[in-house]
Symmetry: C2
């Protein structure tokens, strides 16, 4: 949860006056999004989300994120649509921060996704990948294989405080994956953080995908691997192959995986687990003074990583032969 | 800001199933209210606020607060109306906490109220007092004169850390006010915390009053004194008599103050300033470990208190002769 920047009604009303979306009738800071300050804003014209981008989001990346959401929404993906000011700009400034208004999406995220949710999510992910095919902007994935070792450097000395032997496990994974990371797979726009928090449902049907602030250009199958990690494990870290099968079948109903993608899936899943293990480890070891939010447990991803290391083939995830 | 309790969509949907207000389409924890967890909930029937009462609100007081809001709303005051479940109960339980649903009020609070806002607020306060006349429940004001000394006891030893001489000033005020506190003034339901945060405006017209969780039975003129303190001072702690005149004229347009109330106003204003000075002082000296919220500065109320000590009569606040 986060509302870092305090803004007044007068400031928001002045900001809204640059848009053709009515006048302010209500606003509430909402306790969502780890990186930014978000406000649910109601006007005489409807409901919107106002986001103030805090320092963890690089300003130069914002045109990519906003342009991508606009592109995907125009191609029928249910995601927030950035609203342009009368000037045509999607990005403005409020209280000294870059700020944007996007449309409000109804729906609720599910904490314990069922196989039905996983199937829906798989289809939605494929729809995102297909809708993103002709998006012209590119953004490198700073949290892919070449970024993991530098990220780990800051946590290396204290990794074993979190779990005995963690440092050795990570070192081994880094070496393996740096050596064996796939090349040449189909690439394009990926969400890269499509956890259950970032998907909305209405009556068990996917109603929207949000939070594109890790989106980048990378292997499409890596995004599938992120979702297998975040949607298909049970709280005890056991892999639920029914959910995996549903997610993969949902995905393949719109975009079948190639043989190269299928054979790379176990390595991609290990990489995705390592990526979230590393960012959680760094956050865990660097809780800011006065933080209200307890960081997420890195050990969850260590356990998932161990599962992936024992996997033989994509069949083990539930991929249809 | 506060969202202390984390609840899932499934929990909220199950809670809503006890009511006749449609099915859940969206919910967001909102960063408002210091005492409770609040969620802005949208259903197929409309928008509501779901409040989970955290431990600082005494469970036995909830029937008073909810009954009062219902009473006032029925008499035309624009305030949140508690929604009854199909069972008839206004109070339920969610995630181990007492929980209630109230109607959503449009409007935004103003950070720097103008004289126009003060006039509106004065009328709204009088409307609240008149609407509350026939409310049958009673709740003592735990933060009136007899509660101040016990409250101060926990801060006494460290008061001078906050401002040199603060302890002596407070001791003197306590003695003066305990001796001279008015008796026999018209009493009834008061809001007791009607700061600008707790009033909503649309186009400079008062659109609603919220947050009744300090409401109690006390002198009506004490509520006026609270509002003079919280609405009519400038950021440099100077009293803006134009705003005071507007607030008092607005109030008296619906409920003229009696001669006894007018003559007591300076003491009531001192008492109100001392009450907020003391609660802020205690909060200031007891910031919980890991708090995200910086407590409000007690010195603001010390400066207001000094102004009130120099006041001769209610005329100095702008009361019409």
């Amino acid at each position: 949860m986060a509302v870092y920047t305090d803004v007044s009604a007068a400031q928001i009303a002045a900001f809204l006056s640059l848009y053709d979306i009515g006048t302010l009738t209500s606003f509430h800071g909402i306790a969502e999004g780890v990186e930014n300050s978000n406000f649910l804003v109601q006007t005489t014209a409807g409901t919107y989300i106002l986001t103030l981008y805090e320092k963890r989001v690089a300003r130069e990346d914002l045109p990519f994120f906003l342009g991508l959401m606009q592109h995907l929404a125009k191609r029928g993906l249910s995601c927030p649509l950035p609203v342009a000011a009368r000037s045509g700009a999607m990005l403005g400034e409020l209280s000294g921060r870059p700020a944007a208004i996007v449309t409000f999406l109804p729906g609720v995220s599910v904490r314990r996704p069922s196989a039905v949710h996983c199937a829906e999510l798989g289809r939605g992910l494929a729809q995102l990948h297909l809708a993103g095919r002709d998006f012209s902007m590119r953004r490198a994935n700073a949290l892919s294989v070449s970024g993991w070792r530098p990220l780990y450097r800051g946590a290396r000395g204290r990794a074993d405080e979190v779990a005995p032997g963690l440092a050795a496990t990570i070192e081994e994974e880094l070496s393996d994956l740096e050596r064996d990371w796939p090349a040449g797979l189909p690439a394009g726009v990926i969400h890269a953080d499509l956890f259950p928090d970032n998907a909305f449902f209405l009556d068990d049907a996917l109603s929207g995908i949000i939070d594109f602030y890790f989106a980048c250009t990378d292997f499409l199958a890596y995004d599938v691997a992120v979702c297998l990690n975040s949607w298909c494990f049970e709280p005890d870290a056991s892999y639920n192959v029914t959910k995996g099968r549903a997610l993969l079948a949902g995905y393949e109903s719109l975009r079948p995986l190639g043989a190269d993608e299928a054979s790379a899936l176990p390595r991609l899943a290990r990489g995705a687990a390592l990526r979230f293990l590393l960012t959680r480890l760094v956050d865990w070891l660097n809780v800011p003074e006065g933080a209200l939010v307890r960081p997420k447990d890195p050990v969850e991803y260590l356990r998932k990583l161990r599962f992936h290391r024992a996997v033989d083939s994509a069949r083990d995830y539930g991929l249809a032969p």
